[in-house]
C-alpha cells in the first residue's frame, strides 16, 4: 500500500504540483492516501458479507501568505486532472471575495523527512479471506454453544491505511497504520423486548483470528456479552437520579473522550468551555487533584497515528495534570491562537477531508490506585462488589450504581454537557448485586472529574470505538484503571425511569 504512494509516477505528480503551486505563489500541502480494507461478516450462522476493497487518491491544500486556504481532492493520480484542480482552486475559489473570511496564519512547521511502516504491515499481503471466512464461522459456533436463542453478529475487519505528505517546505513524510478488529453483537429477548450487547478486541496483526491470547480475551468478553443480552430483557429500569457511581475503564474512556478530549481540541477553543476568549485555560482547576487526562499515540493500538496528515509528528498531550488544565490537542492552525503548543494532534478520515485536531488513545489516570489483582475480565459485578467492600467503599456508600461497558457518547463543548450510554447497570450494595437495563450518564464534565474519588487496578487502554467529529469517522481508543469510583455530585446524573 505504501508502495503505491512511492511509485515514480506519484513522486513526479507531487513534484509537478509543488512546483506549480510555488510558481503561483501559494503554499501547498499535498497528501496522498492508499487504503486497503478486508472484512467478513457472519450473521445467524451464515456468511453475510465478504469484501476486499482499495481506495486511493490525493488532496491539495493550498494557503496564501495571509493564511487563507482552499482544498481539493481527487480519487486518482492523473497529473493533468490534478493540475486542473489546482488551477481551479487558485483561479476560481481563492479569489471569491465573499468567501474570504478571517485568515488564521499557521504556526511555522519544521520540515520533516520520515518513513514509518510497522512490520505487521507486510502481513496484510498474505491475508486469505477464504480462511478468514471459515475461521469466523468456527468462532461463531463456539460463541453460540450453550446459547441457542441468542442471535450473533460476528465481524472481522482489517485495514492497512498508508499516507504520504509532501509540503512546499520540502517535507516528505510516509507512514502506514495497520489495524484489525473482531467484534460481536449478541441479541436476545422476545418480540418487543430485545437487547443487543457488543464485545470487541483489536490488534494491528491481520492474523488476529488465530492469535490465542487475543481470542482468549475475545471469548471472555463474548461470553459476558451473550449472558448480558439474555439477562437484560427481564431486567428492570434503574431509577433516574444522582447516585454514587462506579464506572469501568471503557466508560472512563468515554468520559475522557466525550467530556474533556473534545473540549480540549484547539480548533474549537473559540467556543469551548475549556477556553477563555479563544485561549486554553492553562492552569485552571477542572477536577480532583489526583486525576489526570492524557492522550497519546500508542504503537499497536487501534487509534495509533504516528504523524498527522500535515506531516507533523504526533506528541503525547497531558490535557489535565493533577486536576489542572495543561495542554490542548492542537495543530499548526490552532496552536498560536489558543496559546498552546502544536502537538500534531490533527487527524482525517481520508484524504478527502480536511484534518481536524482530535484524540488518539485517551485515558484517565488516578494517582495511587487501589489494587485489583488479576485481569479486568476476572471482575464480574459480584467480584467488584467484594473488592469495593474490602476497601471500605460500601461503608461510605451502602448502594452504588455500577455502569458497565460503553455504548457511545456525545458532548456539547460549548457548555460542557456530556452524555454517554452504558451496556448495563448493576446496583452494588451490602446485600448483593442487582442488574438493571442501561441508561445514560449525563451532566457537566467538571462535576464528573471532580467526583472521581478512587481508582482500582492498573491501566487498561484497549476500549475501542469510532469518533465522528464533524462527520469524519476515525478510530478512537483509550481507557483508565479497571474501575473508577465517583462520589455523587449534583451536576451529573443517571437517566432511567
Amino acid at each position: 500500500m505504501i508502495e503505491e504512494l512511492e511509485r515514480a509516477e506519484v513522486d513526479h505528480l507531487a513534484r509537478r504540483l509543488l512546483d506549480r503551486a510555488a510558481g503561483r505563489g501559494v503554499h501547498l500541502i499535498w497528501r496522498a492516501q492508499s487504503c486497503g480494507s478486508w472484512s467478513a461478516l457472519v450473521r445467524g450462522g451464515r456468511i453475510e458479507r465478504v469484501a476486499a476493497s482499495r481506495f486511493s487518491g490525493h488532496a491539495l491544500w493550498i494557503a496564501e501568505g495571509s493564511g487563507r486556504t482552499a482544498f481539493a481532492s481527487r480519487d486518482d493520480f492523473e497529473p493533468e486532472a490534478a493540475e486542473r484542480l489546482l488551477d481551479r482552486l487558485i483561479e476560481n475559489v481563492l479569489p471569491e471575495a465573499r468567501l474570504r473570511g478571517s485568515p488564521l496564519p499557521p504556526t511555522t512547521l519544521a520540515p520533516e523527512q520520515a518513513r514509518l511502516v510497522p512490520d505487521t504491515a507486510a502481513r496484510f499481503a498474505g491475508l486469505d479471506l477464504e480462511a478468514v471466512r471459515l475461521r469466523l464461522l468456527e468462532l461463531e459456533r463456539i460463541c453460540t454453544a450453550g446459547a441457542p436463542k441468542v442471535r450473533l453478529r460476528l465481524a472481522f475487519g482489517a485495514e492497512l491505511d498508508s499516507w504520504r505528505i509532501q509540503r512546499s517546505d520540502g517535507s516528505d513524510v510516509r507512514f502506514s497504520i495497520p489495524r484489525c478488529s473482531l467484534r460481536l453483537v449478541a441479541t436476545a429477548g422476545r418480540d418487543g423486548g430485545k437487547h443487543s450487547v457488543g464485545a470487541a478486541v483489536a490488534s494491528p496483526d491481520p492474523g488476529l483470528l488465530w492469535q490465542d491470547q487475543a481470542l482468549d480475551l475475545f471469548f471472555r468478553r463474548a461470553r459476558h456479552a451473550v449472558a448480558l443480552a439474555q439477562a437484560l430483557p427481564d431486567a428492570p429500569h434503574h431509577p433516574a437520579g444522582v447516585f454514587p457511581t462506579v464506572i469501568d475503564y471503557a466508560l472512563a474512556k468515554g468520559l475522557a473522550h466525550e467530556a474533556f478530549g473534545h473540549a480540549a481540541e484547539a480548533d474549537g477553543l473559540r467556543s469551548s468551555v475549556l477556553a477563555r476568549e479563544g485561549r486554553f485555560r492553562v492552569g485552571d482547576r477542572v477536577g480532583a487533584e489526583h486525576v489526570s487526562i492524557v492522550d497519546e499515540p500508542l504503537e499497536g493500538d487501534h487509534a495509533w497515528q504516528p504523524f498527522s496528515p500535515n506531516g507533523v509528528r504526533r506528541r503525547r498531550t497531558v490535557i489535565v495534570e493533577r486536576g489542572r488544565l495543561r495542554q490542548a490537542l492542537a495543530d499548526a492552525w490552532s496552536a498560536a491562537a489558543a496559546g498552546v503548543e502544536n502537538t500534531g494532534a490533527e487527524r482525517a478520515e481520508s484524504y478527502r477531508c480536511p484534518p481536524l485536531p482530535r484524540m488518539s488513545n485517551i485515558r484517565i489516570e488516578v494517582a495511587t490506585p487501589l489494587p485489583a489483582p488479576g485481569d479486568f475480565e476476572d471482575y464480574d459485578a459480584e467480584a467488584l462488589r467484594e473488592r469495593l467492600a474490602a476497601e471500605g467503599i460500601l461503608r461510605r456508600h451502602p448502594r452504588l450504581a455500577f455502569l458497565s461497558g460503553y455504548s457511545g457518547g456525545q458532548v456539547n463543548t460549548t457548555r460542557g454537557d456530556f452524555v454517554f450510554q452504558c451496556k448495563a447497570i448493576y446496583e452494588l450494595s451490602q446485600r448483593g448485586v442487582r442488574l438493571f437495563k442501561p441508561a445514560i450518564f449525563a451532566g457537566s464534565m467538571f462535576g464528573a472529574l471532580e467526583a472521581i474519588r478512587e481508582a482500582f487496578g492498573p491501566l487498561c487502554l484497549d476500549a475501542i470505538g469510532t469518533c465522528g467529529k464533524w462527520g469524519q469517522r476515525v478510530p478512537s481508543s483509550g481507557g483508565s484503571h479497571y474501575f473508577l469510583v465517583l462520589d455523587p455530585h449534583p451536576s451529573f446524573r443517571l437517566g432511567g425511569n
Partner: protein, 435 residues
C-alpha cells in the same frame, strides 16, 4: 470512468479459473463544492472552500461457480489495472445465493432530480449563492448579538448509470444541495434538497433559527420532573423516532431476528403502533433530497408503505433480503424528506405549545441506543419552557421512555412545524430537569 473497458474485462477475466457469469455495475461520477464556517471563521483551515471529484463503480459479480462478489471499484484502483481489480474481487467471493440477483430492463419513472444552479455551484462556479448564505448568517449574528456561528454549505452534481449483464441500462443525473448553521454553538438547523431553495425561504429559515438560538440564551422556567407532555421537534422525531422505526424495519435485521419486528408479524400485518399511524416512502417527489429514479441495484423507485394504520406492511428490502424473506423488494429510504409519518390529525404548532410542558429541540446520545429494545434514555440539553410563552427560555433535562410506547400512546399528536417535512410529536414522556 470507462465502463466499456470494465465490461470487456469482466467478460475476459478468469481469476483462479473462475468466470463472471452475471454482473451489475452502478457507476457514479460526482463533482462537489463545499464551504464551512467554524466559530465565525469562514473558509479557515478546518472548513476551507473545497472542490472534489470522485468516480466509482459499485459492483455485484456472480461467478460461474455460484459465488458472489460485492463491493466498489474506485477510480484510483481501476487505474492500476482492471484485471487486478477483478481478481481482487474474486478473492472476496463467497456463497450467498440470495444475493446472486442481477436485474434486467424495466420501466423507470421520470423524477425531477437536477437543478442547473446547483450544478454550477457544485463545479465551483456561481459562488455568489454561497456568499449570500454567508452574508445573511453574519447579519443575523450581528443583529442578535451572537458571539460566533458555525455552518456548512455543500453542492453536488452526480451522474449515475446502471448496467447489467441482463441488459439493464439506465442513467440519472442529479444535484444535491445542503446547508446547516448554528449560533454560539447552540441549536442548529439546515436545509437539504436537490435544488437551491428560493432566497426568501432561505432568509426565513435562518431567521427562525436565530430566533430559537436567541431564546436558548436565556433561562427558562424549569418544570417539575416526571411524566410530562413534551413536544418533540421534527429533528428529534427524525433522529429518535424515525431512526428507531427504520432500524427495526430493516430487512436484514428482520431476517436475522435482530429487530423488534419479527417476520411473522409482517405476514400477519400485526398491529404494532397506534391505529392511525402510517409510515410511507415516496422517492418520486420532485427535487427532494431523498428522491431518485432507481436504487443502486437497479430497482425502479416507487411509493411504498411500511406501516399502515399502525400495522406492519413490509420491511425495507433490498433484493437479497426480499428473496430471503419471500417478499417483494422495496425502494430504500435515502433521506427523511421523502418519508411521510402520519399520526392522525395534525395539531397546529401554537395549540401544541399551549399543551406541552417543554419543547425538546435536540437530544444527545441517540446513536448510543439499542433500537431493538426501543428504550431511550437521553440527555436533552436544548429545551424551551414554557413553550407557549414569548418569554420561553432554555431548560436542560434527561428524557426517558420507549419509542414503541410513545407511538402507542393515546395522547400522541402530530404537530406541524413551518419548513419541516416531518411532523413534531406531542406526547407524554419522562422528563427530569438537570441543573
Amino acid at each position: 470512468m470507462d465502463l466499456e473497458r470494465l465490461e470487456g474485462t469482466l467478460a475476459r477475466a478468469r481469476p483462479a479459473g473462475a468466470a463472471v457469469a452475471a454482473w451489475s455495475l452502478c457507476v457514479a461520477e460526482q463533482t462537489r463544492f463545499a464551504l464551512g464556517v467554524r466559530d465565525g471563521m469562514v473558509g479557515g483551515a478546518y472548513a476551507p472552500p473545497e472542490i472534489a471529484e470522485t468516480a466509482s463503480a459499485r459492483y455485484l459479480l456472480v461467478w460461474d461457480d455460484g459465488r458472489v462478489s460485492r463491493g466498489v471499484f474506485e477510480r484510483g484502483q481501476l487505474a492500476q489495472g482492471l484485471e487486478r481489480s477483478v481478481a481482487e474481487a474474486r478473492t472476496a467471493s463467497y456463497d450467498d445465493p440470495d444475493a446472486a440477483q442481477v436485474l434486467g430492463p424495466s420501466e423507470f419513472p421520470r423524477v425531477e432530480l437536477e437543478d442547473p444552479a446547483t450544478a454550477a455551484l457544485a463545479r465551483g462556479e456561481h459562488l455568489h449563492r454561497a456568499g449570500e448564505w454567508l452574508e445573511k448568517a453574519q447579519e443575523l449574528q450581528r443583529a442578535q448579538g451572537f458571539r460566533l456561528w458555525s455552518g456548512a454549505l455543500r453542492a453536488t452534481h452526480e451522474r449515475t448509470r446502471i448496467r447489467t449483464s441482463r441488459g439493464l441500462d439506465v442513467t440519472a443525473q442529479g444535484t444535491h444541495y445542503a446547508w446547516s448553521a448554528s449560533f454560539d454553538g447552540e441549536w442548529g438547523d439546515g436545509y437539504q434538497a436537490r435544488a437551491l431553495e428560493p432566497l426568501p425561504l432561505l432568509w426565513e429559515r435562518l431567521e427562525r433559527l436565530a430566533r430559537t438560538a436567541a431564546q436558548l440564551k436565556r433561562p427558562g422556567e424549569v418544570p417539575e420532573g416526571g411524566r410530562l407532555p413534551v413536544l418533540l421537534h421534527p429533528h428529534v422525531v427524525e433522529e429518535l423516532v424515525l431512526g428507531t422505526l427504520l432500524a427495526n424495519l430493516d430487512g436484514a435485521a428482520v431476517a436475522h431476528g435482530e429487530a423488534a419486528f419479527a417476520r411473522e408479524q409482517f405476514a400477519k400485518r400485526a398491529r404494532v403502533l397506534r391505529e392511525d399511524i402510517t409510515l410511507e416512502l415516496d422517492p418520486l417527489q420532485p427535487l427532494r433530497a431523498g428522491s431518485y429514479r432507481f436504487t443502486a441495484e437497479g430497482l425502479p423507485a416507487t411509493r411504498v408503505r411500511f406501516i399502515e394504520g399502525g400495522r406492519l406492511c413490509t420491511p425495507i428490502l433490498d433484493l437479497k433480503y426480499a428473496r430471503r424473506l419471500g417478499l417483494a423488494p422495496t425502494p430504500l429510504p435515502a433521506e427523511f424528506d421523502t418519508l411521510r409519518l402520519e399520526v392522525g390529525e395534525t395539531v397546529p404548532l401554537e395549540e401544541a405549545r399551549g399543551q406541552a410542558a417543554v419543547v425538546v429541540l435536540a437530544v444527545l446520545g441517540v446513536h448510543t441506543l439499542d433500537p431493538a429494545s426501543g428504550d431511550f434514555s437521553l440527555s436533552a440539553p436544548q429545551c424551551l419552557a414554557p413553550p407557549g410563552a414569548e418569554g420561553a427560555g432554555r431548560v436542560r433535562g434527561t428524557l426517558a421512555g420507549n419509542v414503541f410506547d410513545l407511538l402507542r400512546a393515546r395522547e400522541l399528536r402530530a404537530v406541524a412545524f413551518p419548513g419541516e417535512t416531518t411532523p413534531g410529536l406531542l406526547v407524554p414522556c419522562r422528563f427530569e430537569p438537570l441543573p
